[in-house]
């Protein structure tokens, strides 16, 4: 705590979309309570801070650092190490830091294939000399460096010791407030816990619909069908609810969209994708191999569907890297 008795808070974003930052702002008038309770020492998204400000702090100077974003580059990893060193409590905040999230789907590719796509193949790109980013470049003024881009997106917990994990893409405001409240009151759970979510329920438990485990003969993507006001899974729309930890109050299904699984694996689920795959298979209405293969053939992108928010944290982490193994 600072001399004024306030919590010293740091917020950082690594490989993320900025949604977690918006989620903090979504605290709305409670942001004033946050300001009353905490001094923000570092928040590059919202205020002007430099990395050297953090480097100059004594170790453990920040009470709590909410770190959002995955580890996609050497810069992200350096900041993870630096903020760990400078913070008493390091929180993996949001799905990217927790599980890799959407940036983690990059693990179906590698650096070169992503660079080829971005710097050569996209229709709007004109790069006749095939120029790719270089990590160092000689300028008249001297050598300049930029961070290196990793082959593999990692979670914060895969590169640093993390105290708590807050799931969600992004974490929902009441949950964020509950976590901040717990920190302020000093009532912190066991290190390594997932906080701001349910330990015992799935999204289905919070959903306004009751799943009847109806058999389906066709799977639909959300835009291919006008859903009725009942369980989406029962209508053949793949919903991650059964494989996903509760905590968001079933935000997506409450407005007729299937759950995509952003709160991470549900209770007793080892691998969220494998669990969702099983849930999908269990409703396939087929009594022959041919019929089953035809119906599950509707699932065009199994990894992207079943591991949309958690590929880096899943059992396999990524697609096989050529030249390794």
């Amino acid at each position: 705590m600072a001399d004024n008795g306030k919590l010293k808070l740091g917020l950082y974003w690594a490989a993320s979309c900025g949604g977690c930052e918006i989620a903090i702002v979504e605290l709305r008038e409670k942001i004033l309570d946050l300001d009353a309770a905490a001094d923000i020492l570092f928040w590059p998204c919202a205020m002007d801070f430099k990395y050297k400000d953090v480097e100059a702090m004594p170790d453990g100077h920040i009470d709590v650092c909410l770190f959002n974003g995955a580890i996609r580059s050497s810069e992200n990893e350096e900041m993870a190490h630096l903020l760990r060193q400078k913070s008493q409590v390091l929180v993996a905040f949001g799905s990217c830091a927790h599980e890799g999230c959407i940036p983690g789907l990059g693990n179906l590719f590698d650096r070169q294939s992503i660079f080829d796509r971005v710097y050569l193949e996209t229709p709007s790109t004109d790069n006749p000399d095939s120029i790719f980013p270089q990590t160092s470049y000689q300028m008249p003024e001297g050598e300049v460096h930029i961070p290196s881009f990793y082959n593999t997106v990692k979670t914060l917990g895969q590169v640093e010791d993390v105290d708590y994990f807050v799931p969600g893409c992004p974490p929902q405001a009441p949950q964020i407030w509950a976590v901040i409240g717990a920190i302020l009151s000093g009532e912190l759970p066991e290190k390594g816990s997932v906080v701001g979510a349910s330990a015992t329920k799935t999204v289905c438990d919070e959903c306004k619909y009751d799943r009847e485990e109806k058999r389906v003969t066709k799977f639909y993507r959300p835009h291919e069908i006008i859903a009725e006001d009942r369980c989406l899974f029962d209508q053949g729309i793949i919903c991650s609810g059964p494989a996903t930890r509760a905590g968001c109050e079933a935000r997506c299904t409450s407005v007729g969209m299937p759950c995509r699984g952003c709160y991470g694996p549900g209770p007793n689920v080892v691998d969220q994708g494998a669990a969702l795959l099983s849930a999908v298979a269990s409703v396939v209405d087929a009594d022959t191999e041919e019929e089953a293969a035809r119906i599950v053939g509707d699932v065009l992108d199994p990894v992207g569907t079943f591991y949309r928010f958690g590929l880096p944290a899943s059992m396999l982490h990524r697609k096989k890297l050529e030249g390794v193994g």
């Binding site: 082959n151 494998a274 298979a281 022959t288 890297l321």
Partner: protein, 148 residues
């Protein structure tokens, strides 16, 4: 173990249902049918019990290949339709593994009844050679590979 000269002995995990394929494997062994010694068998009560997690875990923990085998559908399953679960799940597991870059030849699923011991022995021999040709998978090294 057999060896084709490259010194690589594949490690294969076989999830076999108690009532059909495990019985076939047992008979193949008791009858001294010639088979490679590369398959570590895990007996499950039903091929429908094989959670996809088991298959992924086998690969992550070092398997170079995985076999899932149970009773012929329809009708042979001891629990009448347990193997229906298998054929509803496995095509998606196949597609998933392919997206992960795990070659098709490293995963086999199908049916072998208790009376088909020679078919089991043949599968073991052929699958071992197929995986041997693909080389080691070594997923742990994937996970540890360092960024430059």
């Amino acid at each position: 173990m057999s060896d084709n000269g490259n010194g690589f002995e594949p490690r294969i995990v076989g999830f076999l249902c108690n009532w059909c394929t495990y019985t076939a494997a047992d008979t193949a062994g008791v009858s001294r049918m010639k088979q490679t010694a590369n398959v570590d068998i895990i007996r499950v009560m039903c091929s429908g019990r094989v959670d996809p997690t088991f298959i992924l875990k086998a690969f992550v923990e070092g398997a170079d290949g995985v076999i899932v085998s149970g009773c012929h559908p329809p009708g042979d399953c001891h629990y009448s339709t347990g193997n229906f679960k298998t054929f509803r799940r496995m095509p998606m597991v196949e597609a998933l593994l392919e997206q992960y870059g795990i070659e098709k030849g490293r995963f086999h699923w199908g049916w072998i009844s208790g009376a088909e011991a020679p078919k089991w022995a043949r599968l073991v021999n052929e699958f071992t050679e197929q995986v041997r040709d693909l080389g080691p998978l070594d997923w742990k090294r994937q996970l540890q590979s360092k960024e430059d």
